[in-house]
């Protein structure tokens, strides 16, 4: 049986916030939570007194819908790259209007279409909010999906948002195509 298509699917997932200083570290039962001011302090402390193989950081998070960007047909990697979505209701009216009118390239508008997206709130896909989600952190049933053309737009915009240099790839493809076109017949 083939794996369900994940790319473009909207799923509910546990999404932790990006850790930021001051860091809170759990040291074990009965121990006070340690607070470390910043990454440099943490590194100096590690240099001075060593570190256990790993630490348990206390990180806040939330159950929220995300749109998955990858398929995992062979299920070889359990983590999937996704984009977080943002609800529009707490934004100002003029900001919501700009998103609806597609004047905000970072925010891909999802109109209120429960049958398509499975969401009962107006949202936008945030191109600046890339996250990785473990398969075990997602609810298995997708509530909706973006179609191929929507995913194509998101892919194009994402390359720009991530400052990915596509020049070598495009140049190589153009050159290969030119070679094909100019190759002598026969």
């Amino acid at each position: 049986m083939s794996a369900p298509r994940l790319r473009g699917a909207i799923v509910w997932a546990v999404v932790p916030y990006v850790p930021q200083a001051p860091f809170r570290v759990w040291l074990g039962d009965g121990q006070p939570i340690a607070t470390i001011a910043d990454a440099t302090t943490y590194a100096r402390q590690a240099r001075r007194s060593g570190l256990d193989p790993e630490q348990t950081f206390l990180v806040e998070g939330k159950l929220r819908p995300v749109v998955l960007l990858q398929d995992r047909p062979a299920r070889r990697l359990p983590e999937i790259v996704a984009l977080r979505m943002v609800r529009l209701e707490t934004l100002k009216a003029r900001q919501r209007e700009a998103i609806r009118e597609h004047r905000e390239p970072s925010l891909f508008h999802l109109a209120l279409q429960p049958a398509k997206y499975g969401l009962h709130k107006e949202m936008a896909v945030d191109l600046n909010a890339l996250v990785r989600v473990h398969a075990s952190a997602m609810l298995p049933r997708a509530v909706g999906a973006l179609d191929d053309s929507e995913m194509r737009v998101i892919g194009q915009r994402l390359a720009e948002h991530l400052d990915i240099d596509l020049e070598p790839l495009i140049a190589a493809r153009v050159e290969a195509r030119l070679d094909e076109l100019t190759r002598p017949a026969g």
Binding site: V86, I99, S106, H120
Partner: protein, 102 residues
């Protein structure tokens, strides 16, 4: 722009810098003006069509500006709200029920 000096795309002819009359440039051909023999190029003359193509390449593949510099206030505001979960004052229960199959 690596192809600009690739013989498959553009041919070159070389002329010494002391020459007072240069050949008329044609499309697809670069006239290399040598100053001290072939190792040192003083100038390269190309046809206007090739120059236009070069300019187009420069526009397409020009210096990259970090995308962050173009972010709008709305994009930043939405991202900050989402990062701390402040965009969701309540749970979209109907959607969550759909995910749970209830």
């Amino acid at each position: 722009m690596s192809n600009m000096d690739d013989a498959r795309v553009m041919t070159t002819i070389e002329v010494p810098a002391t020459q007072t009359r240069f050949p008329t440039p044609v499309a697809g051909q670069a006239i290399v003006v040598n100053r001290y023999g072939s190792a040192h190029r003083k100038a390269v003359i190309i046809h206007p069509e090739d120059f236009d193509l070069f300019e187009r390449y420069r526009r397409i593949f020009g210096a990259r500006v970090p995308h962050e510099l173009g972010l709008t206030e709305t994009a930043i505001a939405a991202n900050r709200l989402g990062e701390r979960g402040a965009d969701e004052p309540d749970l979209d229960v109907a959607s969550l029920d759909l995910a749970l199959g209830t």
